[in-house]
Symmetry: C2
């Protein structure tokens, strides 16, 4: 497309300019942004992130200016180039796993190396023996072999026990035969498999002498190391475009009786003794239990920042965007109102802003608890030991670990749903321009969406949570419950159930937290009655279980946020005004959640109708007003560089309209062609003679 | 990519096959699908749709098999070709506007002719004089000029009065000067403008002698008729990629003092007398009021079918997909459970199934009311007259029209939000595979999303609704209210307010409808008190207004669905079993809505906590169980051909896995290339030697 004519270059947005408006916003609040950011992330982390950002932005392979315009082949080609360069940089700068992750976060789109660098390496490391590390892991770490983790199949996702791929032990030549008996046995959705991987960890049903021992992990080479063509009797490829995540080559994989040697079954936990042809049972299954808890806790921590990107973009844009005058403004008052001043916009964005902080502190709390618990477990059991721990050790450890595991399930489901749905609320709060790719929210949302399904489908997980809560409730009734938080709140509920609750949710923070605990307890004992006394079917209770798990997650978030604010460390690291502001965010999150879920709070008798009405019409509205002046600084504290956001609407400097126009008019390759508009002409496109075609789509 | 090897071709999904499962589903219910479909659409319409489908599927330009794989340039190129062919078919078959629309619906993606064929032609027709029809409309109807409707600007969307583009009257040479004084004056989002249009109807602020007369429509040529290059002092192009709608060339447009003749101001309603240079005022603004009401009512009707596509796909897939055994199933019972049997899936899908019917009947009811009202208005005022009707005529007509207009606003906002968000619920109910483009839901959702913003932003509209409800409430209190439905329910509320309500929402349908009316009335008089007595600012009440408008919309849907079922015509057209089933859908929609909005129903004292609990745990769960066996036939009655759905998951024959595999393995152009996976190799892609490249992305 011809570059903009001079008279267009001379045009400015009508005033006041976006840059002026954001400066005014920042001047309105005296929140210490750097101090808060360091409290959230530490100074070291912030410095490290900036160092990595500078490396990436200096490298043309990471240039983002054509990202939104590209078709799938071109996008994934660019992503592969980036993946390769990233690996080189990792070697060059000797990046840690965390640093490599930061670089990926800044690039903000998956690459075809994604699952190699995560699940493939992790699985080899955690489930392989030292001999297998030598055989596979070392090469994988050097990218001599590129792998993926092939579990999900066309016909089975959540139900791992239902996988159809088989691995049959051949006692004669001490090999396994991998086979896909049906079309639905095809591995499916496997990241990095479609085009990149030459190896895969394949989860398959182990058969020995006709008997099924359940799903186990096997290492299989799938493509030729030189030609990269599929090996014989293997059918593999990319599964096609998706709603998002299109820079990843999610793949399919079918085997027709492919033999692999004995050493290819990952054997740290269970294995076959080739001399006896006997199966050797796993030693300590709770180690895997721990890994899942860790992954889910990480998703909770990440969800705060995922959502914060959307909130940052929408808040800045809504401070720049002006539309209509305030209806009650005195006649003749000039100018339009910033969209962020409308309460209908505030009620959508500010509780989400509060949620970003709530999720951050909750995720941090979960990871701390996980690490403490690991320490405790390691002090009672030899690390990496294969001996079976005694029953008492297991009980002490598992009581806390089971509680942590259930909480991580409830929070993973709630946090990822909150982030995903919150991003869409942010996008819509940007009005029409939110629909443009240049908003930067749509693609981020679309790429994040799988998180509500993977690492435990959010609906499925709520059954695990409820099963645990029911079990704990039964133990409390029997007097055999342990000392974890869930048992504590259930005991308190039982103690006061007949006296009744009268929580001062508006006047007292601890009462507010207790009201959330009360509702969880109420719903648990209701569900328990339905299941154990009324003998209702499990299936008929799934909706109740989902509500129960959500209630438990909300309680945990409110509690973690409250604990973080009352941690003495917090007062050391941030000034009292900041604590006061964070406290308002805590109350906004808690009260707006309480109001949204009002009917459960009523029916549990935790609050009265009058309290809910007051919470909504007075407390929440007042908090919106109090938080409004600090909104821009509160999103600034998340410290997203513009390069990461890649958003016209979310620019730090507020040059929203200039950036939208620049991208449309000067970067958009569709403007390199001319249409022939007449229906009877067979011509469709002509190249614009005045343009320099700058990139193919 | 090489076609599938023989051994892969021989594979089938593990049993039972999807085709068997859907046959069983259809055998379980005796709902007369054809009879219900004819009741919904009429036999004539269904026959007509099939005739058009046959024409389209026979034409290779409409082949959809590469749609999901293409990048933007290639997609819009295909869409332009389709638009051209469609126009030729319209001429060839002498299609009516409705028939042309059906063809577009079947193709299911916008073309660059979209805004020409709709808003451009409509505006010329409705706002042009007979002379202007000759000058512009006739050529436009013959596609000699291709146009668009340029209203929204970079800086202004909802607030039309804030538009910045100016049209200044030049008394000397009897012309207007179109000008964009700022960058934010650039027209933006204008469909068919980016690449296709050579003309535009431009909304611009009319200035005469330095005085602003507000926004008016002007016709402007923007591109050369032969070269299709922009005319001098015009900067125009495509605004770039969007979250969806990427087969449309939404465009931008800037003018630098471009002169257009006097005859280019569309002059049916207001104009300039060139002899006196005086402005002549519009005669009957309520005509436009009527058009908006009609457009919004159409969106309501359309929303039912938009959502029904998602519900059709998700319901069929959830009947084919099996995962886990029922936890309470007797041990040893073989096979997994259909996902649709889980109550957690039913509670997500079946209320949406009910909503599709509710929205359909509501949209139909609105359009009928609109047409009756137009008839009545036309009998009191000469059609196309320019005389000003007398005040009484206006009062009688406007009382009903104002009510209808407010209802159309409330329903447009609620219905399009319900459809958009419901589609995403459907997509997620499909689990992992819902994320694949081949689900057919993601792109449909993304393309539909602008509907929540255009024709009145859904949040903005709720202010108009509330303004009307408050005004009516004031009139009721003063005793000056008219006879429309809103006045009726307010009077009833005032009469019974002190006595109290005791609606039997579970036992009586009319009580159920009345409870919805009661809640609207309660919220209206609450808001009225806040505004008129407490003198709360308009801005502080926006959230209340949004709730109020939503409540009003929900009442109207419940009422319209109820009226449709009790219409004597219904019993003539469908058998009693079908009426009973529709009645269950009515109750499911109403009761699940009541339960979702429980806290407002409590606080208005329309129902008790006990009733809500019963509605949720008994009534709704029982309805799910009763409707479950008829689900597949109920979606079949929407009669979407597979070609329209373009979905692996929603196939009528249930061959879900075969279709997913076929598209991924045999249609996916990414499988025509081979990656070089090693990080230190500079090579990225190589063409797969064994493949025939079938299409560029």
């Amino acid at each position: 497309m011809p570059s903009n004519p001079e008279w267009v270059k001379a045009l400015k947005p009508s005033g006041p300019q976006g840059s002026e408006l954001l400066s005014q916003e920042r001047a309105k609040s005296n929140l210490n942004v750097d101090q808060l950011a360091e409290f959230l992330f530490t100074k070291d982390v912030l410095d490290r992130n900036e160092r990595i950002l500078n490396i990436l932005t200096a490298d043309p392979v990471f240039d983002k200016s054509q990202n939104y315009f590209r078709g799938r082949n071109t996008r994934i080609e660019a992503a592969l180039a980036r993946g390769k360069r990233l690996q080189q940089l990792q070697v060059k700068h000797n990046w840690s796993k965390d640093e490599y992750q930061v670089a990926n976060d800044l690039i903000s789109e998956p690459t075809p190396y994604g699952l190699h660098a995560s699940m493939f390496l992790v699985t080899l490391r955690e489930q392989g023996t030292p001999e297998q590390h030598k055989l596979f892991l070392e090469k994988a770490e050097n990218y001599e072999i590129i792998g993926c983790y092939a579990q999900t199949e066309l016909g089975h996702g959540s139900n791992v026990r239902g996988l159809e791929t088989t691995a049959t032990w051949n006692p004669d030549d001490k090999t396994f035969t991998l086979h896909s008996p049906h079309l639905t046995a095809s591995k499916w959705w496997i990241g990095s498999l479609g085009k990149a991987a030459n190896y895969a960890v394949v989860m398959a049903q182990l058969y020995i002498g006709g008997k099924n021992y359940g799903p186990h992990p096997f290492v299989a080479q799938i493509r030729d190391m030189k030609t990269h063509q599929p090996l014989p009797n293997i059918h593999v490829g990319d599964i096609g475009p998706k709603f998002g995540y299109n820079t990843m080559d999610n793949g399919f994989l079918l085997f027709k009786n492919v033999k692999i040697p004995h050493e290819n079954m990952l054997a740290r936990f269970s294995r076959i003794d080739p001399s006896t042809n006997k199966y050797v049972r796993p030693s300590n299954p709770s180690l895997i239990y721990g890994t899942l808890t860790y992954i889910r806790s990480s998703i909770v921590l990440q969800s705060g920042s995922v959502l914060a990107r959307g909130v940052t973009i929408a808040s800045r844009y809504c401070a720049v965007r002006r539309q209509f005058q305030d209806r009650d403004a005195p006649a003749g008052e000039p100018g339009e109102n910033q969209v962020l001043n409308y309460t209908m916009v505030q009620i959508r964005l500010l509780p989400l802003l509060a949620a970003t902080y709530a999720l951050h502190f909750t995720g941090r709390g979960m990871i701390n608890m996980y690490q403490e618990n690991q320490k405790r477990m390691n002090s009672t059991a030899e690390p990496e030991s294969r001996r079976n721990p005694g029953p008492e050790e297991l009980n002490a450890g598992t009581d806390l670990l089971a509680d942590l595991h259930a909480t991580s399930c409830a929070l993973k489901a709630l946090a990822s749903t909150t982030a995903a749905e919150g991003l869409e609320v942010c996008r819509r709060a940007c009005g029409g321009h939110g629909y443009s790719s240049f908003s930067g929210i749509g693609s981020w949302y679309a790429d994040y969406l799988p998180t509500v399904t993977w690492e435990g489908d959010n609906y499925m997980l709520t059954q695990q949570v409820s099963r645990y809560l029911l079990k704990t409730a039964r133990a409390v009734l029997k007097g055999t419950a342990g000392n974890n938080d869930t048992s504590r709140i259930f005991k308190e509920f039982i103690r006061r159930r007949d006296i009744g609750a009268a929580f001062d949710v508006i006047g007292s923070d601890t009462d507010l937290v207790d009201a959330f605990a009360w509702r969880v307890s109420f719903l648990t004992f209701e569900a328990l009655r339905h299941r154990d006394e009324d003998k209702q079917s499990w299936n008929s209770l799934l909706v109740d279980f989902w509500r129960l798990s959500t209630a438990h997650g909300q309680y945990m978030i409110v509690k973690n946020f409250h604990d973080a604010l009352n941690d003495p460390q917090t007062k050391k690291e941030v000034d009292p005004e900041t604590v006061t502001l964070l406290h308002k965010l805590f109350r906004l999150y808690a009260l707006s959640t309480l109001e949204k879920e009002a009917s459960e709070f009523y029916s549990s008798a935790a609050v009265t109708v009058r309290q809910i009405t007051l919470a909504r019409t007075k407390a929440v509205m007042k908090l919106l007003e109090e938080i409004r002046p600090h909104t821009i600084r509160l999103v600034d504290a998340w410290k997203f560089p513009d390069w990461q956001l890649d958003s016209s609407l979310g620019r730090y400097d507020g040059k929203v309209y200039e950036d939208l126009f620049h991208r449309a008019s000067e970067l958009n390759p569709l403007n390199d062609v001319v249409f022939d508009p007449y229906p009877n002409s067979k011509v469709l496109f002509k190249e614009d003679k005045r343009s320099n075609l700058r990139s193919k789509l």
